[in-house]
Subunit: 253 residues, 2 copies
Amino acid sequence: MLPTERRRIILEQILVARTIPLKDLAHALAVHEVTIRRDLSELEREGLIEVVRGGARILEQAQADIAYEMRANRELFAKQAIAKEAIKLVQDGDTIALDASTTSLEVARALANRGRVHVLVSGLEAANVLAASKTPFTVLGGTFNPVARGFSGPITELVLGKLHPDKVFFSVKGLSLKAGLTDASLIEAEVKTRLIQSSKSAIALVDHSKFGATAFTTIIDLQELDSLITDKDPDANTKKWLLGSGLKLIVAK
Amino acid sequence: MLPTERRRIILEQILVARTIPLKDLAHALAVHEVTIRRDLSELEREGLIEVVRGGARILEQAQADIAYEMRANRELFAKQAIAKEAIKLVQDGDTIALDASTTSLEVARALANRGRVHVLVSGLEAANVLAASKTPFTVLGGTFNPVARGFSGPITELVLGKLHPDKVFFSVKGLSLKAGLTDASLIEAEVKTRLIQSSKSAIALVDHSKFGATAFTTIIDLQELDSLITDKDPDANTKKWLLGSGLKLIVAK
DNA sequence: AAAGATTAACACATATTTGTTTATTTTTGC
DNA sequence: GCAAAAATAAACAAATATGTGTTAATCTTT
């Protein structure tokens, strides 16, 4: 195991437990206490945790970053498979809008260097990915939200009122029969709703871990959706409901 | 010399010469040809150059990135000194606008974690710096310009029409008696002009390497400027001209 | 075919990572 | 307060990884 990987695991552990004894880490990772101690100093130097006697604890200010990183890596394989299907829907000359989700980030990666498209992004990471490639893109603008690592708020709304992308790809926190497509934050959900309404075609990217989950607020009705891409077949009831609303269901393999 | 530094030098050489023989590099850097060869493979792997028989050549698509990096590092010390003076002008509760220049990037770094300010940025790098810190900020939005690594165009103008920051810090390409404050690109200059006009106070950041230079297009009249921060005393004539227009001249030491 | 360029294989020096041991500091129970 | 226990820090050593140069073999170009 690479030192980097070990440190990532340590961070994960600290994030869920908020505080963790050094001995537990040494035992769980089967390395010497001194090694863990050195890892913790390194993570402290990076400003992610605070070393305390007997172990370490999370720094409040680093929580958003770590949580984002974990979110981006969770079900990464599924997200990549979904992104691969997503870009099949993209045609030359299209203007593509992406929300600030980690699934859309994978779409941005897949879109990089594809050429002959213009991308509209609302997330900082997607902007960085596209800036490193040669894909032309426009940032929506707005106030930075450290949790979502995206831009939202009145400036974003202002810009969205003027733009009409051909296709919007977006992700959700939950997909359930009783609540539909839901998201965790009102402000982020508002951006998604606006994006969807201003675009000619809306495509939801929903990996299987979102099935059955209900988050805080509903984004849109299923009727407004054109396609839904996922990585596993949903259960029969959900499938029936999805297909019943007239959308195109794409299952990436 | 660190391998990284050697590779940076190689890139610089390739950028100016566009193509360079392997032997020249080996000789100039006083290392074995094999070492250069391995450096070149690494740079090729990173997508920055193409290895050809006898040496290497620049990849068109990487040119903007490398040029930006070089620009950001040129006169870095001067830029940092200027940024240090700049943040002395910032007061708690201020809304600060930054253009996409590499000097403003240093201001963003100096501003990070200062707290109690809201920053308005038009450059991607500054956004990344602020996102890593805890400083709240808003991105202007707009279409990404790979050369300036900033956002500009109609979307940016739209947003600027609505916002009125307390202070704007911006840099220029040239400062000369005959043309005033000038910049290289019309589109970028337009963003700067709008930024300056919408803000309550405009502060130019001009390191000494810009003295006497005239770039393509004039940004604003000196009269519209409140302060000018530089790192070396300009010549007597220029100084007289600057002070004569009623602005505050700050020389960082 | 000869010259030049590239690749591959090996060796050496240096840097990094990890564990062990020992000394020092901090905490805790009395 | 003091002594025992626990935690930390410092110094050293072994193992591994990385960077560099040498040599020899192979491939391109002219």
